[in-house]
Symmetry: C2
Subunit: 323 residues, 2 copies
């Protein structure tokens, strides 16, 4: 780490084991890494700004988790294995308890995924964090958004809607009488877990993939647009957690939460008919659900028991993919 805040650097320096493919980490003009031969590198950058992505008094542990998890989730959606991260961070002042809490959460998550902080820059300024995370994957094995074909089946991992329900609790917009339930949904909002192992397992199975960061409707829409196809999704098949069903009793509302909840970090992916058997084996340790099928139309259609729905979900329902 360079920059005028040399005091801060000690919080970020040498807190992790050195990966074998890191030749040089912090302390020189650049970091040096050694990609394994025959691998490609997947690279994702996310910026979080105080006041835009979180409140100034947000828990620094949560900011750290959100910043790193959202980037790792992008790697997961490509089928890449997380390796290295660079951090640009601006802080209005040197607040040591804040830094310690931020770093503890950051390095805990980084260690869990085997990602090494290789360098960055610390500067004085309004609170903001930009991370660039890199992962490796075998040549030609990337899971892109553009590979879906007509007839492919559409799947999601885990369950959907909990992050949005958790946000309701946080914003005190919609609260259950069950305080343990509120607490659990709040936790799920803050601690969504990227599906890295599922991404790796899907490399030879899925035709396209994306992580659910803006909401299923919006993110599946990206696959459809890039693949130049449409889709039919059966809302009755959307995977809803027991907690979400307890929090939102109304079927329609619960399903609409599942369709629009962002920052879930679940994967949405498509699988050709011929690979459905392999899928069962590949994701033996990950819950997943088939929610629909890719079509040759230009539309994303929602239906329930063959009845087409015309839900208004932020303008995304029944929308034309290529405008």
């Amino acid at each position: 780490m360079a920059g005028e805040f040399s005091l801060i650097d000690k919080y970020f320096a040498h807190r992790q084991q050195q990966r074998k493919d890191v030749i040089l980490a912090q302390g020189d003009d650049c970091a040096i890494v050694a990609p394994a031969s025959g691998t490609h590198i997947a690279i994702s950058t996310d910026t979080l700004v105080s006041g835009t992505h979180f409140l100034a008094d947000a828990d620094p542990a949560w900011i750290a988790h959100k910043a790193l998890a959202s980037n790792i989730s992008d790697l997961a959606a490509m089928g890449a294995s997380p390796c290295w991260v660079s951090m640009g961070i601006s802080l209005p002042e040197v607040d040591e308890p804040w830094l310690e809490r931020f770093c503890q959460a950051f390095f805990e998550l980084a260690d869990y995924y085997g990602v090494q902080l290789i360098g960055g820059d610390t500067t004085r300024g309004p609170l903001a964090i930009t991370l660039t995370v890199q992962g490796s994957l075998p040549e030609g094995k990337a899971l892109t958004r553009s590979g879906a074909s007509v007839g492919d089946w559409i799947y999601v991992t885990g369950s959907l809607g909990d992050a949005k329900a958790g946000l309701d609790v946080i914003l005190e917009k919609n609260i259950s009488d069950d305080s343990a339930l509120n607490k659990e949904l709040e936790r799920r909002h803050f601690e969504s877990v990227p599906r890295v192992l599922a991404g790796l397992a899907l490399r030879d199975v899925a035709s396209a993939a994306i992580d659910i960061s803006d909401g299923l409707i919006s993110d599946l829409g990206h696959i459809l647009k890039r693949s130049n196809v449409g889709a039919r999704v059966d809302v009755a098949k959307l995977p809803l957690s027991t907690e979400l069903r307890a929090f939102i009793k109304d079927d329609t509302q619960a399903r609409q939460y599942a369709l629009t909840s962002g920052e879930e970090y679940e994967l949405c992916f498509t699988v050709p008919e011929a690979n459905r058997g392999q899928l069962e084996v590949a994701l033996v340790n990950t819950p997943f659900t088939c929610i629909g099928q890719i079509t040759g139309t230009e539309y994303l259609e929602l239906h329930e028991n063959e009845q087409t729905l015309n839900w208004q979900l932020g303008g995304f329902d029944h929308f034309k993919v290529n405008q």
Copy 2:
């Protein structure tokens, strides 16, 4: 580019030729690049924040130049060849003329060095830019700060002090009667050029290298500290431009400018006696000057004609390297 500012994305998307080693640029969860086999990757991250590194009304072309040039200069100092850049940018509002001017300068410099923007994130927030630039270099050929040995000769490229003189002009702190001279020094402050070709040429010649971003004294100090050596520098040998000599008539003051001027993007490097012949060949197209020699002391000593100097230069003079 992802994020809520989709309008902005058009300024950054597809303005450059695709490099052959870029498999996937913007538009998916990650970018994908293909490093050549047998190469290592050098990675540098810099953050520039409005109010800390530049004024809010600074020319966006200059901000773009400064952000990219400082990162490319870090690659040059490692002997790496620039390849790819990721950008996290926060903007308070969508200001199209600002963006167009920023992008024009950014892509002009990026194209000059063959660096492709592969992705990033645009968000609403206080004006700030974080770039992560990556370059390639043959395995084991990185020019680090830690390779200097006792007896190695110390060199710098180009001339030193112009950037600081240019800053004087900008801040109206010290202005010449010659307005063309003022203008030229101001231009040099804003348009310092990273020494990429010199860095590449020094791979098999230099024992250590750094780019001069904080001032020669400070940056040579980093080499000494990491290499665990001292140095003797002859201030009479410091390369000063004709313009600096016209701007600052006093010898001592001009030399002190050369020792402390930051953001020069010249290289400071060390060369073993046995490689001095190769150096003449390697840098045939780059001006360079021998300014001193690495010593076995723990000090950076300044001298002139065998007389040791005790200049007070921000606490860095005659300083103990390992404190």
